[in-house]
């Protein structure tokens, strides 16, 4: 599915490591299977050759790792960024969360990543191997004699179906062809929720959030969540809690988090990707993005470094709170 190959990325990483441009590489590490890829720091060409992978399951957004990985770094770190990752990269720079001088960013094209859960829904459990061939995935299982051929479009991750941009907004070097900001339908699902009655919408979220196990994976993977001490982890905050004590609290955690990242969320979709319970958390953030676009004009967090989100940038043109209130009466 991907137009850029492991070999091309490996050659680039090896070159930059060998010529001293970077001291380490943040890339995707080989797992036990063909889909369980782990973000890995490679320090030598040998390590890269043995463990570096690139395939249709390299969804993880590396931007947030730069906050920790550059803190005590000698030299520069090479990071591979897919178009959507570059928005998080810029947003973190806007928030002064890492030192740009310590990073060598290589933009790479992305054709969309696959969701292993969707693959398994078709192939069943017991995957032996997954190969990629053009726009098809070839899945071999332990139980079927013949490989199962799946159209990659059928198993695209939710966030990739609604990809907002194939364009890189930050890099030191670009591999492959540059793409464009895409005309996605990413707000359709939000509009569907807006069209519901308040009771229906409440029931929708009640059902989705009732599965939450409060593992905090959404928060911990979120590039907009980089507080050194989250209020939910801080016993002195008074709101700290390790588990959803009741269904109200479940919702509270996610809603507070959505408010906290509003205007800073680039819609990278990591929250929903990592959720072990497949809760469509990105829809909460998208609702805020859609509202901001409608209230204050189009704004894309991370599109450029240093931009001020509408919520922290007062202008006399801003809409009056009353208008927001009136809109609420129309059930949106």
């Amino acid at each position: 599915m991907q137009k850029i190959t492991r070999e091309q990325l490996l050659a680039k990483a090896s070159e930059l490591l060998s010529n001293g441009t970077v001291s380490c590489v943040l890339g995707w590490g080989l797992g036990e299977f063909d889909y369980d890829v782990t973000p890995t720091i490679f320090k030598s060409v040998e390590e890269l050759e043995n463990g570096f992978v690139f395939n249709d399951f390299c969804g993880a957004n590396f931007s947030k790792y730069l906050v920790n990985k550059t803190a005590k770094l000698e030299g520069k770190i090479l990071v591979f960024l897919k178009p959507c990752d570059t928005y998080s990269f810029n947003q973190l720079l806007t928030e002064h969360r890492f030192d740009r001088e310590k990073v060598y960013a290589v933009g790479i094209p992305c054709e969309g990543m696959a969701d292993i859960a969707k693959v398994k829904a078709i192939s069943g459990d017991g995957i032996a191997a997954i190969g990629s061939n053009g726009d098809k995935l070839t899945v071999t299982t332990l139980y079927d004699d013949e490989a199962i051929v799946i159209d990659t479009n059928e198993v695209l991750a939710e966030r990739c179906i609604n990809c907002k941009s194939k364009k890189h907004v930050a890099y030191d070097e670009l591999m492959g062809e540059e793409g464009d900001v895409t005309q996605s339908n990413r707000f359709d699902e939000v509009a569907r929720l807006e069209a519901m009655t308040p009771d229906e919408r409440f029931a929708f979220w009640q059902n989705e959030l009732s599965r939450c196990i409060r593992c905090n994976a959404c928060r911990d993977a979120c590039p907009a969540c980089t507080c050194e001490k989250c209020v939910f982890d801080n016993p002195s905050s008074g709101v700290e809690n390790k588990s959803p004590a009741n269904s109200f609290e479940e919702k509270l955690f996610h809603i507070i988090r959505a408010y906290h990242v509003a205007g800073r969320c680039t819609d990278c979709g990591e929250c929903s990707r990592v959720c072990p319970q497949n809760i469509p958390l990105h829809l909460l953030n998208r609702k805020f993005i859609k509202d901001m676009n409608e209230f204050y004009g189009e704004y894309q967090a991370g599109a450029e470094v240093g931009s001020r989100a509408p919520l922290v940038s007062y202008t006399t043109e801003d809409l009056e709170p009353g208008e927001v209130f009136n809109r609420g009466e129309n059930n949106a």
């Binding site: 459990d125 196990i213 928060r219 588990s243 959803p244």
Partner: protein
């Protein structure tokens, strides 16, 4: 051994539910499975296993322990335990049945955890043999046979029938109550299925994962290995692995101020969290590497050291499937095992 046609399975569920609350894996809106209380119309999920383990039944994520009511200068301590009815958990896989043994050793040894013990005494477990283990399964590593699950009653499912064998007194009593819907049979079909499952087990990619190099007494050898740096470098510090794990049993006890009373409750905690076991002097483990190491050392060294060599992992594979960065106990065991 007794059997029942799958056409009659809902009648069987209804019969069980007459005398006890029945829980079974049902399909959620996202396609995954979760244990839900059976009611007319419930659909038994075909998924290999549930996202959440069945440990919730005995060790729920949150439970109130007691309540303190204050009035003037007096404090009244109220027992918040509700009377508990018998309940049946249906379709528990062999790995998860074994996880109850791991939890029992923690909660049922002195001092016995009365909350856990009460639930345990009321629960009846009907296990189910696995027909199609996943690539993430490695229960054999811990001596578990997915074709012969333990529990009060063991069950085997074919395309058309389901077979039952009672293993305990509780199981016998329940199976007797179901005698009108089941019929006596020999074990030919079940034996064939066992053989088939065992053949599949030999094909699993993780069949060679070994506990060699782990166990009691290995602390000094493993604690300072440089590999922990590399293994933990991408860990996000979330609690997914611990919360989907059937054997993770750490909890925190907290007080919740309601204004005129205090509710003391306990909730699952995760060693991956920055405030885990935080005490007056501060925190024991300041880096994510230390927290990460704690989880695996506990499962593979400290627990067996205190429990006659039993490991506190059952190879269910949930952490392999759910970790956001795909780091897990198998990768740890392969990297540092046998050193």
């Amino acid at each position: 051994m007794r059997k029942c046609s799958l056409e009659k399975i809902n009648l069987l569920f209804a019969e069980i539910a007459k005398n006890a609350e029945l829980y079974l894996p049902t399909q959620q809106t996202d396609g995954s499975a979760a244990y839900k209380k059976w009611e007319e119309g419930s659909v038994w999920s075909n998924a290999l296993n549930t996202v959440r383990s069945p440990k919730d039944f005995f060790f729920p994520q949150t439970e109130n322990l007691m309540k303190f009511k204050t009035e003037g200068k007096s404090i009244e301590v109220v027992d918040t335990r509700n009377a508990l009815d018998d309940f049946v958990i249906f379709g528990v896989r062999a790995c998860d049945v074994k996880s109850f043994d791991v939890l029992d050793r923690v909660f049922l040894t002195e001092p016995v955890d009365s909350f856990y013990a009460l639930r345990r005494s009321h629960g009846v477990i009907i296990s189910l043999a696995c027909q199609r283990p996943s690539e993430t399964c490695f229960c054999k590593t811990f001596g578990i046979d997915p074709a012969a699950p333990a529990g009060d009653i063991s069950a085997w499912k074919t395309e058309t029938e389901i077979f039952f064998e009672a293993n305990t007194q509780k199981g016998k009593e329940l199976l007797e109550k179901l005698s009108a819907l089941t019929e006596e049979c020999d074990d030919t079909v079940v034996s064939e299925q066992k053989e088939k499952i065992n053949k599949f087990m030999d094909k699993l990619p993780l069949k060679n994962v070994t506990t060699d190099g782990f166990g009691g007494g290995k602390t000094k050898e493993l604690f300072d290995l440089p590999e922990w740096d590399e293994l933990s470098q991408a860990c996000l510090g979330c609690g997914t692995c611990t919360f989907v794990c059937p054997t993770c049993q750490c909890y925190d006890i907290k007080d919740f101020n309601t204004g005129n009373s205090v509710i003391r409750f306990r909730c699952w905690d995760s060693c991956m969290y920055s405030d885990f076991t935080k005490m007056a002097h501060g925190n024991n483990r300041l880096s994510q590497k230390e927290r990460f190491r704690q989880r695996f050392m506990h499962k593979l060294v400290y627990y067996p050291e205190n429990n006659d060599g039993m490991f506190s992992c059952v190879g269910c594979g949930r952490c392999l499937a759910k970790c956001p960065i795909s780091m897990n106990i198998v990768k740890v065991m392969k990297k540092i095992g046998g050193k």
